[in-house]
């Protein structure tokens, strides 16, 4: 089964994961900038991280025949420090034209604070000025509903932002309608404990259709499954979905969204 992993934090994964994903049919991997699990103390730490995402990780992926793309930002978990965030956002333009950079992400909110909101607005402004695609992280658990509403307000209040060029990730049953009804793309993250299981993701496809939606593993340094997308494709097959429709969800849809960036080559 060919598929695209549109959201994987591969810097946190081992080479065996690359091998398993390639063998499972992964046609390319897209890696949003993320929180390392600890706060970086300086803009220089982010400079090195952006070099890792744009120089080193593509080479590591290429060893397994997998094209690697990325998104750049300071993650919402590190957005409480507005001064640091401002310095990091200022670094992004010098990386944005690198060949594997697809846009700005994963930006968004974590605890829905005023500082996080200010940093989100900085990123949205940068994306608008540089005409970049946007990948948005929505908060965890009890904070997701409120955060999704606040994020949608920021995006809808900026007239430069085109909803079809933004994906709102980590939707669940209580947020997916808000996102799709506003014209944005929706991402479903397949996690064993939080976010949604393969069965629930397919339920959402049953209920809301297959337009403007993708699935991802968001595999990182926490509890996550790098093969979650093909496993969900298998689950769709068990539930009687046609191969063409499975291909649309796991391959064609992410290719269509990211294909809006001219640097993205359909694998």
């Amino acid at each position: 089964m060919r598929y695209i992993e549109p959201h994987g934090h591969m810097v946190s994964r081992v080479t065996d994961d690359y091998q398993d994903m390639a063998m499972a049919g992964c046609a390319c991997i897209c890696e949003p900038a993320f929180w390392a699990g600890f706060d970086r103390r300086s803009p220089e730490g982010f400079y090195d991280y952006f070099c890792q995402l744009t120089e080193h990780e593509p080479k590591r992926a290429a060893k397994f025949g997998v094209p690697h793309y990325c998104w750049l930002c300071i993650n919402p978990k590190e957005s409480e420090d507005v001064r640091l965030a401002r310095d990091v956002v200022a670094l992004i333009p010098q990386f944005i034209d690198r060949p594997n950079v697809l846009g700005i992400g994963e930006i968004g909110l974590n605890k829905n604070s005023r500082n996080e909101l200010q940093v989100l607005e900085m990123h949205v402004d940068l994306a608008a000025r540089l005409d970049q695609l946007i990948l948005v992280h929505t908060p965890h658990l009890e904070d997701k509903l409120k955060g999704t509403r606040l994020i949608l307000d920021v995006l809808k209040n900026d007239s430069r932002i085109k909803p079809e060029r933004c994906i709102i990730d980590h939707v669940e049953e209580h947020t997916i309608e808000l996102v799709l009804n506003s014209g944005f793309w929706a991402g479903m993250t397949l996690y064993p404990e939080s976010k949604c299981t393969p069965a629930r993701a397919i339920d959402m496809l049953d209920n809301f259709g297959t337009e403007r939606i993708w699935m991802n593993s968001a595999c990182d340094w926490g509890v996550s499954v790098p093969l979650a997308v093909p496993r969900t494709g298998l689950e769709m097959r068990r539930r009687g979905w046609l191969a063409e429709t499975i291909d649309k969800v796991v391959f064609q849809n992410p290719a269509r969204f990211m294909g809006q960036c001219p640097k993205f080559k359909i694998p």
Binding site: N112, S113, E116, L141, L145, R239
Partner: protein, 90 residues
């Protein structure tokens, strides 16, 4: 899919999760000390399982969510616990 097909595919998994939920509540009952807001939130959420309404998953997620609309002054940390403490805990 027919209902029977859904049951064939998911009944055993759902049965296992249901018993796990029951065992979790038994375990909490056997433990000592006061429970915090999460147990009340959990019991409220469980009530949606048998209320006969559609969209149970959505309603459970809504019942565990922060319903407020204004951003908070500062982030108290980075983590989330899975249930909204409500105004009384703030």
């Amino acid at each position: 899919m027919t209902r029977t097909q859904v049951l064939d595919l998911y009944f055993m998994e759902a049965r296992s999760k249901l018993i796990d939920l029951a065992a979790f509540l038994d375990r909490v009952d056997r433990a000592e000390g006061e429970a915090d807001f999460r147990l009340r939130a959990f019991r409220d959420a469980v009530s949606h399982l048998s209320d006969g309404q559609p969209a149970r998953a959505k309603n459970i997620l809504l019942s565990l969510s922060d319903p407020s609309t204004e951003p908070i002054a500062t982030a108290p940390g980075k983590g989330a616990v899975g249930a909204w403490p409500g105004t009384e805990a703030k």
